[in-house]
């Protein structure tokens, strides 16, 4: 501050002497001073940021926009693993292929008897600095993740053992069939903890790319990992810009400054569909599910059934033009589990049900029973376009004579989810976390589960859930899961509306950016290419 005070002091002196000098008219000098100051003001600024790397002529650099930016490169912290995986820098022991089935990556094979799992690593896997990946390093990674990531806290309690150069054992103390699915989550990436320093500026891992420059909370550039254990990346490198504003990404794409990006808004998608020669749009249902919980303590069977019959997921998918795909069950159609059926939407059948239950249509088109209009409380929160979904459902219920009263909450978990104060409760969450049905079922259908707040109680379902907890064979697990979910649908406790689409836009000639993989945390890989 001292600086600016002194400059102001000498303004006063400057006025003094200049008056004496009085050579040229002051008007000219004043204007010149202002112009000079504003120009210098502008170009001092280019000394601070890194000028944007234009398209280097010979090198193949993929330019991508991402709506999230990392502060540090530590893959185990919170969700940062998702992004180190997107940047093609980190890999996990197993990964989910496009059919969301578990496939080995760094690991060769895994088998379990009771609670003891033996996992064998692949032969020639190595870090980007050439050091081989040892079981001991893998175990240290899993423990580190357990320490700092509360969602994987169990990993710090498991007991580990090293069998030989390539195999190690994990004892999970109680039967936990979903261990391999956990090992496939990007948070459990394997990094070289000895040479990555504090992971603030660099990261040594096994992925096809290495970090070449990283600006916390801003742009990150990756280059081809010359010592990649699994072949050679086709691209020379990639740049990931932090562009939170969807509109800006669209304009950058149209302006030729971007080659690909994901989570494309419906408006942008419609714009890209207009120019098929330039852009390629890939839309697949991903793992984020929009569903509603019907409160069994408040509405009887007939009303809930009528609601399920009225909500028309196909029409909703139409309105949200391309951001979501209607779904029957909570899981993506390509997954091996979640093969369930539900009744086709049929408003007349719904009305018949209501009339059967003693409701009569009143003058302004709503059903009422002994003087009271059938008004149901529809609670939602204004994120993940649940607000548009609520508005659309309100319109559809109106046709069936059901008056839906919308209430928007800022924090669903603190309000209607906790208190159960709703007739229909909208929610949106990731249903298929790592290629296994148990996670969603334990969150929404199990007794006392956080999102089982609609009074859903079924002895038979509870016993099936218990069995699912310990069932190792994947086919049997799928059958059990299907049966559980089918009962929930038949009992009209839940209504699965739509799965968010993973929309990826790529400039023509860009291939293999995991655009067909339902999971959000895969993007850049060795096969990604552009011409």
């Amino acid at each position: 501050m001292g600086g600016s005070v002194s400059t102001i002091l000498n303004i006063r002196m400057m006025y003094g002497e200049r008056e004496h000098m009085m050579k040229k008219t002051m008007a000219v000098i004043m204007a010149a001073v202002f112009l000079a100051a504003s120009l210098t003001g502008c170009n001092t600024s280019n000394s601070f940021g890194t000028a944007s790397t234009g398209q280097a002529p010979d090198k193949k650099i993929l330019r991508v926009s991402e709506s999230f930016a990392l502060q540090t490169l530590n893959p185990h912290l919170d969700y940062q693993g998702w992004y180190t995986s997107i940047y093609g820098v980190t890999e996990t022991l197993f990964y989910m292929n496009d059919q969301s089935t578990l496939t080995p990556l760094l690991a060769e094979s895994a088998k379990a008897d009771g609670t003891l799992w033996t996992i064998k690593l692949k032969e020639h896997i190595s870090f980007s600095n050439g050091d081989p990946v040892t079981p001991d390093m893998v175990i240290r990674n899993l423990k580190a993740a357990g320490e700092i990531n509360t969602r994987f806290a169990d990993f710090k309690d498991y007991t580990y053992g090293v069998m030989d150069q390539k195999t190690f054992t994990i004892d999970t103390k109680k039967v936990y069939p979903m261990l391999l699915n956990d090992l496939a989550s990007p948070e459990l990436a394997i990094a070289d903890l000895d040479h990555s320093g504090d992971m603030k500026t660099g990261l040594v891992a096994t992925g096809p790319f290495v970090v070449s420059s990283f600006e916390p909370g801003g742009t990150i550039e990756v280059a081809r990992n010359e010592q990649y254990w699994n072949g050679r990346a086709k691209l020379d490198g990639a740049v990931f810009y932090y562009m939170p504003e969807a509109g800006t990404s669209m304009m950058a794409m149209q302006n030729g400054e971007l080659d690909a990006y994901t989570s494309v808004t419906s408006d942008a998608a419609e714009q890209y569909r207009k120019e098929p020669d330039k852009y390629k749009l890939t839309t697949i249902p991903a793992t984020r599910l929009q569903f509603y919980i019907l409160n069994e303590n408040r509405q009887n069977e007939a009303v809930r059934k009528a609601i399920n019959l009225t909500v028309d997921a196909k029409a909703i998918e139409g309105y949200l033009n391309g951001t979501v795909s209607e779904t029957v069950g909570p899981f993506s159609p390509t997954a091996p589990y979640g093969k369930v059926t539900k009744a086709k939407p049929d408003v007349t059948a719904a009305k018949a049900l209501l009339e059967e239950d003693g409701y009569t249509l009143n003058s302004d088109g709503y059903y009422e029973k002994d003087g009271k209009v059938l008004s149901i409380k529809l609670a939602y929160y204004a994120a993940r376009s649940l607000d548009t979904l609520a508005a659309l459902m309100q319109e559809q219920l109106k046709e069936a004579g059901i008056m839906a009263v919308l209430t928007c909450e800022e924090d669903p978990d603190g309000t209607y989810i906790a208190t159960g104060d709703f007739d229909i409760g909208l929610f949106c969450m990731i249903a298929d976390k790592a290629g296994d049905p148990y996670y969603f079922i334990s969150c929404t259908l199990k007794d006392g589960a956080p999102y089982n707040c609609g009074g859903f109680q079924n002895e038979q379902v509870q016993s099936e859930i218990l069995k699912l907890e310990t069932e190792a064979d994947t086919k049997e697990r799928a059958r059990l899961a299907d049966q559980i979910i089918q009962t929930a649908i038949d009992e009209n406790a839940f209504g699965y509306v739509a799965l968010f689409n993973k929309i990826t836009v790529t400039r023509n000639g860009v291939r293999e950016v995991a655009e067909n993989n339902p999971f959000d945390f895969y993007f850049l890989n060795a096969d990604t290419d552009m011409d």
Partner: protein, 311 residues
């Protein structure tokens, strides 16, 4: 009037204001719905069980009453540590300084270009009162104030980047990237400033000493520069100083659209993610900046108009 005593006096006034603000923000944050732990854990929409939630809350120290948290935040502050951000654990001070650099540069350029635009135009309108140019400028300024910032930003970007390809869309950090956000901030600001400059110029022209100077046959440019503009600078400076404060608030909208990682964007994300330490730090820094700006404006005030002696 000793400058140092005055400045230190003003800074002393800062202490109660700071205490007031930070206490108000802490109270506001604790009353607000939404739980930081919940926001942090389910950032990507993955639902989380109750125990994990409880544990994270304990880890973040949210289980203690907010009064207690306020006190140890204050004690931390005295040792110069503003605590760490909930979102990614990095120290708040670092994040704020980096964001401050970006916002500082953007605000400075916008403020300067606003001055360069509005002072000459304002003076011309004042001197040529009710001429054609003056009327046109009046409508231009009224219109300039009537366009919301984000609409102006998108229209400018659409026109400059897509239509005439003058500027790249992704130009964060470079001089070219500075032009569009500066213009979007500078235009509405200069609309307000032109009106103010015109008003103070007219005000000065009505003063008696102008007749005195004319009677002595002083030439027109001297009257314009040394009498009218010099005295008018006092009120121009006050309004400009105040508007610099709002600029420094980092107009969130402009920074989001133009990917300019300034303070506005930082605090906007912090609010949605209920990142209390960052919000606290931001509020503190803004209060200090605001008082400093007022101080500078006052000092210039006294330099330009020595009559105000009651320091």
């Amino acid at each position: 009037m000793s400058m140092r005593k005055y400045i230190s006096g003003r800074f002393l006034q800062l202490i109660p204001v700071l205490l007031g603000i930070t206490f108000l923000t802490f109270a506001l944050l604790s009353l607000a719905p939404g739980d930081p732990a919940q926001k942090k854990l389910s950032a990507q929409g993955v639902a989380v069980s109750k125990e994990i939630l409880e544990e994270t809350r304990r880890e973040m120290g949210l289980d203690r009453p907010w009064g207690l948290r306020y006190i140890n935040w204050l004690s931390g502050l005295i040792h110069g540590d503003m605590g760490n951000s909930y979102k990614d654990g990095t120290p708040v001070a670092g994040k704020l300084i980096k964001a401050m650099k970006y916002t500082g540069i953007l605000s400075f350029c916008a403020f300067l270009s606003a001055l360069v635009i509005s002072i000459p135009l304002g003076v011309y309108c004042g001197v040529k009162k009710n001429g054609v140019f003056d009327r046109v400028m009046r409508w231009f300024c009224l219109a300039g104030n009537a366009v919301p910032g984000f609409l102006l930003a998108v229209l400018l970007m659409y026109f400059f980047c897509l239509r005439i390809q003058a500027f790249p869309v992704i130009a964060k950090g470079s001089v070219k990237g500075l032009f569009l956000p500066t213009m979007t901030l500078a235009l509405p600001l200069s609309c307000r400033l032109i009106r103010q400059v015109r008003a103070s110029v007219l005000n000065q022209m009505g003063m008696e000493y102008i007749d005195g100077a004319k009677a002595r046959g002083v030439l027109k440019p001297y009257i314009l520069i040394f009498h009218i503009l010099r005295n008018a600078m006092i009120s121009i400076l006050t309004v400009a100083g105040l508007s610099f404060g709002t600029l420094l608030g980092g107009s969130v909208v402009i920074e989001t659209i133009f990917m300019w990682p300034g303070m506005g964007k930082l605090v906007m994300d912090a609010i949605t993610a209920r990142d209390y330490p960052v919000i606290q730090g931001f509020v503190m820094v803004m209060a200090v900046i605001y008082v400093v700006i007022n101080l500078i404006v006052d000092i210039c005030y006294h330099l330009l108009d020595p009559r105000l002696e009651e320091i």
